[in-house]
Homo-oligomer: 199 residues x 2
């Protein structure tokens, strides 16, 4: 398969690349690095990405930022920054990308354990992740041509654990390579509308 991987240079992206590249052709895209440059916050940039790649068999998004900060100090603008980046960015990739997938192709988006398990300062992350999962749940029912859409929800990653452990008390980090297996399940599997939890 020809797989477009957005966020290919991140910790998770590199693990997905390593998991899938022996069996598939990986088109690596990112905001600041990769064979293809794309800003998921911009319609024209995403359209240009697909003009450059041509039709693909799978789209995988492993990118997106949310706002972390105390609820008592959070501003609507800060909350919106996560909506525009990790939520609408991935939705934009899916909405535009659906027209550039071969029949039977798939879209795989990324959320995280905070969708269901809140942490301190994580209200934006929980909302954004829940929304991405909701989008996939609904979009799966409407996609035609055998297209599928799923979400992978990893726990905190072992590779970035030192920076995150204070915010995730008692959480059990997972290796990025284990999270990457879930992307293979989504890309090569048969299900749609699923959230593959790696926790």
């Amino acid at each position: 398969m020809k797989i477009l991987l957005v966020g290919a240079s991140g910790t998770l992206g590199r693990a997905i690349d390593a998991e899938l590249s022996a069996d598939h052709e990986i088109l690596r895209a990112g905001r600041g690095s990769g064979d293809f440059r794309v800003d998921l916050r911009d319609d024209a940039s995403v359209a240009e990405l697909f003009r450059a790649t041509g039709k693909v068999d799978a789209i995988v998004a492993a990118s997106g930022n949310v706002h972390f900060g105390p609820l008592a100090e959070m501003t609507p603008a800060q909350f919106d920054s996560g909506l525009q980046d990790k939520l609408l960015g991935q939705v934009r990739l899916a909405l535009i990308g659906q027209h550039h997938l071969n029949d039977g192709g798939s879209i795989t988006l990324t959320t995280g354990i905070l969708a269901e398990e809140p942490i301190r300062q994580g209200a934006n992350a929980t909302a954004v992740n829940a929304a991405v999962e909701g989008f996939a749940r609904a979009a799966a029912c409407e996609l035609g041509r055998g297209l599928r859409i799923n979400v992978v929800s990893p726990n905190a990653l072992q590779e970035s654990w030192e920076g995150y452990r204070a915010y995730f008390p008692g959480f059990e980090p997972v290796p990025a390579a284990r999270a990457a297996l879930a992307y293979r399940r989504s890309v090569e599997g048969v299900q749609s509308g699923r959230v593959y939890k790696v926790w």
Copy 2:
């Protein structure tokens, strides 16, 4: 209690008003009608609302629009319109409103059955509703001073069923008066982080 009700003139808002007004003082707010005018899409308008109301004991939001349309034709801008209105509008009311609640006060937001049960053309609605529920789930863990936050998720309303029934095949509409009971549970109850489903 002194209860701020945003969206007071809508079908749901009027039912909430009828349910609560015998026992509480209701401050009725809306975009185009009510004792207090507010545009939840605008920080300054929400701040002005609370300057006008002073401290309250409960904030109830029964307003917000989402985009309905086929997934294959949906644009990122259309998707964002629902994020800005029903999602960020209610979040803005909560983020700013938390500082204008008396100790032990509550915030009650509104989603809908589409959060969990997708319909055709409803991908934006499902994502927006899931995000609002995620926000409340996480915010409930961080609020101080005994403040609480909950969500009411009604089914389609009997009062507006004629216009909606084609989009909700086999759904069982509920009277707005029954949905209104859930707002009383949230406002007068003890729970926080709950989604009260009226379906």
